[in-house]
Amino acid sequence: MEKKRPQLSLEELHQLKWLLGGVLVLLSVWTVFYLEIEAWTLMGLTTVAVMAALIRPALPARLPPWTHRLVFPAVVMFFIGDLWLNTQVLPAIVRLDILLLLYRGVSYRQKRDDLQVIILGLFLIVVAGVLTVSLAFAAQILVFTACALAFLLVINLVESADAGRPKDGAPPRVPAWTHLGWRRLWARLREVADWRVLVLGGVLFVGVVGVSALLFLAIPRFQLENSLFLERFAAKKARTGFNDNIKFGDVTEIQQDTSVALSVDVTDRSQIPAAPYWRMLVLDEYRAGSFRLSPLLRYREFSRGERVGDTIRGTARSPRGEPVYWTFYFESGVSRYLPLLGPFAQVRFRETQNYRVATNLGVVALREEPAAMTAYRVEGMDASDRLPDANFALRLLKLPGTDPQSTTLKMLGLGVNAADQATLAGMVREITGGVALPVAEFSRRTEAWLARRHRYSLNPNVPGGAGDPLVRWMASGEAGHCELFAGSFVLLARTAGLSARVVTGFRGGTWNGYSNNFTIRNSDAHAWCEVFDAASAAWLRTDPTPGADAGPGEQAKGEATLARRLDRSWAARWDSLRVFWYRRIVNFDQRSQVETLKAVKEATEKSGQQLRVKLSEMVERLKAWLASPWTAERVAKILGSVVALAGLIWAWREFGRGWWRQLRRNAPSGDPVRLQAGRWLRELTVLTGASESAQASARSWVVGPETARVIDDLQRLRFGARATWPEPEAVFRRARVAVRAERRRGRVTAS
């Protein structure tokens, strides 16, 4: 007869409820780790207080009753004060939520308070998920769901166990369950647990995740007007970032950060250039050691006003044939300027955005830097090193003269004093030999000139002295980084009468071999140049940084060039998970839904076809097998196989099942007597130095006769049939005495 399993008492259920409630509070408040809202102090305080209340559940009883009456007004005051001082709604609500969770975590809870913990926790996690679109959200919501379901189950069991009992007055100040220890609860949980129920619970939870995934795929999607943006209620804060005023060293600083800045999916790999340049920002004005987007250019290019929408029409034309889509997953905290390879036919956002487009510059800027990952899809993008700009060619023609405004607009302004201008002119003469060169030739020679004089280094040394720092650096032989090289090139080109500008963004990236996408990290940040070629009325890209040849050799495309960038490291695995999250979850829309259905349909049809082919092959093989000659040997083999199979089935039915049942009956799992006997046996084994299996032969001379008898009895209790057991308590008493005796013997032998 199966042994009756014990049950948790009402007090133990209360204790379990307290534990799960505390865990939920901690799980919720730990969202602060990736939610970029200033609540670290509150989070730390909540963690410490809730953990203290978990370890010592009697602690909350020490709070005087009047403190509970003061809590509500204090929380309201805190919220109003927070809102007034910081003037940000969402951070104030988040801090209020954490404060309420703190209070619920350290006070004894009724049922409604328990439900409040779940609601508050869920709010915090969902807000963090919406704001950050982080993969951590997926892990956290899963753990939170599992804990919340267990919590609700225990609440329900507590209610059931307490149902119908008369309630006599207010609950006691110190609940009775607080005196129970956690170790005892753990032991009781182990006693009560049934592995079959636990496995079923696990399977059901996996089922919940599966069903929710199916629901996620199946929920019909239709776009309503976007009117809820939680991001609006939170202040934006950049960790790193490109902005329109870059001092020397800024890009290099970004390069220290190895986190992912951008992930790119492309529908046609053959279109990926071997060295992609992800343009973000154009800087035209040089002044006092820094390049920036001049106000004049900003006014001219971005003056069309801010637009609202989810689609941007570009100037490029879509090539014929199957369109190529580039899907960008642009991480938060990088910039409000979108990385692009070049001119495009169309950019489509997942959500409506406020943006400005500088068509001539090939730059798209969002109104604010996004707080969460921003996904956008680009169609018909030209990844070549040429950026046609007919308007600039016209401007060059129409704006003669040398007034500062014209110079700025023509991107010919140097921003250095006369002495430095003279130095620059000398350098240009050295490069060109005093001859006017075509743009390509000038670029080649200037790059070579710079590479001869300077090495590449992330730790440059700009010599001190009077005049412009960039000119000083050019005049020296010091090593430099990409910004110095790009800036030098621009000054030299402008001195030579060529319109030039600095472009910042990312260069290169790695090809993730698991998720088949480009991963660009902040460490790929780069600065390069564009020189205007009046002959072709286009800006030509040139990268003067040594080792970064942007010439025609780098313009190769296709899968072969990706092999050099292939990344199959563990970091790539993690990134592939992130990309999966972005592709399949965050960026899932109606089109994805249709594509998924289409893929499922195709997979079903394909698998059906394969199955039919396999079946027909099997039938053919069977026919061939039947048609082959029936020799005596073959018949004997078949009969032998049939007999062997029948024998196996018979043996299992006769002996195997019984043996299995016997094995399960004798299994020591869970039986406290068998477990205790095992513990005593292990202790005696250690003391006598004999292994458990070798005891039978060794103990006669290793241990004393009484100890040997005790070991015999313990082994019977551990492994023997229950009917043959001696009195367990008496055996354990004797075992205790034997252990002491063996210890004494050991000490005597050692001395």
Binding site: L149, L152, A161, L204, V208, F216, F222, N226, E351
Partner: protein, 427 residues
Amino acid sequence: MSAAPAALTSPQVAPPSGPAAGWSGPGARSKRRRFTWNALLWALIFPQRGQRILPTLSGTLLIALSLGIGMAAYNSANNILFITLSLLLACLILSGVLSWLNFRGVAWRLELAPPLRAGHEAVVGLGLRNGKPFLPTYGLWFELLARPVEEGPPPPPKSTITGNDLGDLDVRAAWKQAALAEQRGQLFLRERLDPRGELRLDWLFKPTKRGRLSVELAGIGSQFPFGFLRKHLTTELREERFVWPAPVDYRRLAEAGARRTAGGERAARAGQGLDLLALRRYASGDSHRLIHWKASARSRTLLVRQFAAETTEGFSIWLRTDAAIWTRPEQFERLVSFCATLAEDLFRAGQLTALAIDDEAPLPVRRVRDLEQLLDRLAIIQPRKELGPGHAVLAAEPKAKRNVLTFAPDGAHAVAAYVDGEKTATT
């Protein structure tokens, strides 16, 4: 004299035997319906007959939360919100699956312990059985209802009830009265019902008046597993029992006991007398001295002697229920209780021989079973509207018979018992 209830057992109310006897519910063995996909889909969409599912406070909260998150998800096309919505809906589905699993394999039956007496506490046992192989069952509650069964033929069925049908009946008052006569109770499954385990829950209640009583399992409810939904099943499990009249205290007035005939009487029931009543087969535990060796040798079967009981004096009770005599209902109730108490006391003393009701033939009372049938009859007896032939004579009748106990009103409330016309006891 105090009339304590006798500890009688009745064969009519013995607990049902056999593995499936009396069991009801999802786990009771019944003919399985043929599986069809249509039936399954329909069952998923529409609750089965007798099932009611209502959201609880936390369930309402969950649904409101799902609606809110759903609206926000559609409003912002944010997939994080869609994920949260999917998880919430999946949790709701899980709740339904676990609730179904919790009820699955569970069977219940009513176990009424006899006898039921008006004014005395009765125990209604609710047997529970979990037929699942390894899953326990938690958190059920059971609603029990005890209500008197109306005597008389049931009203003819009508599809429509009109005002004329009701006559002067005040429906609300009738409803209130019926509700007052009902007794409701709740039983809670506080512990875990182990797989393949059985459990019994007891409901104590006090029947207020004699008659036929219907004890029903009105419903089974559960909020398992997460308390989102309150699932309620109705059942048709119903047991009917007689509620015997309440015992009353009475006072003996005189030594008007039964007249003893010389030599006593031999009663035609088994007892410890000297006269041989019959022979029967030997049963384990019989004294060897009782073996009738000659008869055993002749029949080649061990036979033992059975002696007749010997009574010294015996009483017959004649209960007359004419409405003309018993004009006050409470006095009539007192009469029935007095009669039942006397019958039990006399039987316990071995002095009750027969009981007659009105003009019916006297019923001999030899065994416990006879007494129980008698009490069952007294449980439902009502005043007789039509007068019987002997209604004019009360205490003096019948003079020709000996040791006949009759009853008559004693003042406005009390009832007196007469033996052969002599007042013997009163309540």
